[in-house]
Subunit: 219 residues, 2 copies
DNA sequence: AAACCCTATCAACACCGCGTCGAGAGCTTC
DNA sequence: GAAGCTCTCGACGCGGTGTTGATAGGGTTT
């Protein structure tokens, strides 16, 4: 069961003990190696040995720092997710401040930017989700957060009369959030039918607006 | 390089020679075993040995019939894709017959049904795409087909004045088609935020209509 | 019927990636 | 200077993949 978490002494559950000697650099070196390699090739083509060598240690020694390759990636994803959540906070304020269209665009742009700036990690998250229950759970929570926020916005707009009624807000939110995930993923990989880096936001925003307001012109 | 195609004597590129002896049943047995197991568990948890045993042969003998596990799955996906393409033909006629809203719903329903009826295979396709270039290419062509059809519909509706202008038809089509893929995938796996089996169509149709017509009420 | 060939089969092998075990080496620190 | 940490790695076992070589049987050719 190559999953993750179980930890040697004590810590957040992933890495190692709290903190201390110089070997702490090694942990960082492993994480940095992983981030670097993920920008070059998919997770499935990176082995524990690659991570160990990249950090200047042997494969068994790697296991002193992390219980598995998945655990390393999960740690990295965790950080990305936290960073993305911060972006969201910002955008939400704007949305609440009564600028739905500009706010929405800003929110989608921030989200896109957060993942775009760590392309490799984002793709690794999608890949890991397929085989790793912890990754699935983590991503699930992330999605749930965005869905809840989106649904709240839709409901707010409906009850102030700016958006027409229709399918349940939460259901629309789920589809929209999943659309963004898939569209962004395609753009990052550059797979065959995919949106251009510089058009993706315009297209997503238009679909969100039309879906929420029934038309691209609110009210 | 565990990819596929290279074939022993001559055939479609995947399986074996044209046709002949009794060992032909074996080939079918392998394919059937794969389909059966894929309804039970993900591709990554199925080994060549599982397929061989399921077909009543040893692992080396499996390699007489297929060059790899991937090749088996690609063959199966190929068939599903062909079946789905047929559904699309049907729905396109309806769309062309001047019933855009009913036709669109029918098209999405047919597509959903085609993949729903082979849930396991559909999920395997998504999984294989991540690691196998042939699968990526195949899926890419499938998506391209749907995108082209969708874009054509949008353009037709715009030029007859039923749909308002907006982002380029092809760009909207890409996002919509990818949304469907992701939303359906989520529904099939039952992952955490996901649409209910029986709500998914209503939601997708509403988003498509609003995106294309600017409102859920055409014209 | 013996030689030959083609289909089909599998035991045994080589390889790779993962994760573990046990034996240290180098530091404190008492 | 012995005990006790942190850190390191050689060597192992496991499970998966794909290949090799030997072989058995049916189908023809001669």
């Amino acid at each position: 069961m190559p999953t993750a978490s179980k930890a040697k002494p004590a810590s957040n559950g992933r890495g190692r003990r709290a903190a201390s000697t110089s070997g702490d650099e090694r942990e960082r070196a492993i994480l940095e190696t992983a981030e670097r390699l993920l920008e070059e090739r998919p997770l499935s083509e990176i082995s524990v040995d690659d991570l160990a060598r990249g950090a200047g240690i042997s494969r068994p020694t790697f296991y002193f720092y992390f219980p598995s390759k998945d655990a390393v990636v999960l740690t990295i994803i965790d950080r990305l997710v936290v960073a993305a959540a911060d972006s969201r906070e910002e955008a939400l304020k704007m949305l609440a401040a009564g600028e739905p269209r500009a706010g929405l665009r800003q929110a989608l742009a921030d989200l896109y930017g957060a993942f775009r700036s760590r392309r490799g990690v984002s793709l690794a998250a999608a890949e890991l989700r397929l085989t790793n229950p912890e990754a699935r759970e983590l991503w699930s929570q992330v999605m749930e957060g965005w869905v809840a926020d989106t649904a709240a916005v839709i409901e707010a707009e409906r009850s102030r009369g700016a958006a027409p009624p229709g399918q349940p807000a939460r259901d629309l939110a789920i589809a929209l959030v999943q659309m963004n995930e898939r569209v962004q993923y395609a753009t990052f990989t550059g797979e065959s039918p995919s949106l251009d880096e510089d058009r993706v936001l315009d297209v997503l925003v238009e679909i969100w607006l039309r879906t929420i307001y029934g038309t691209a012109e609110p009210s």
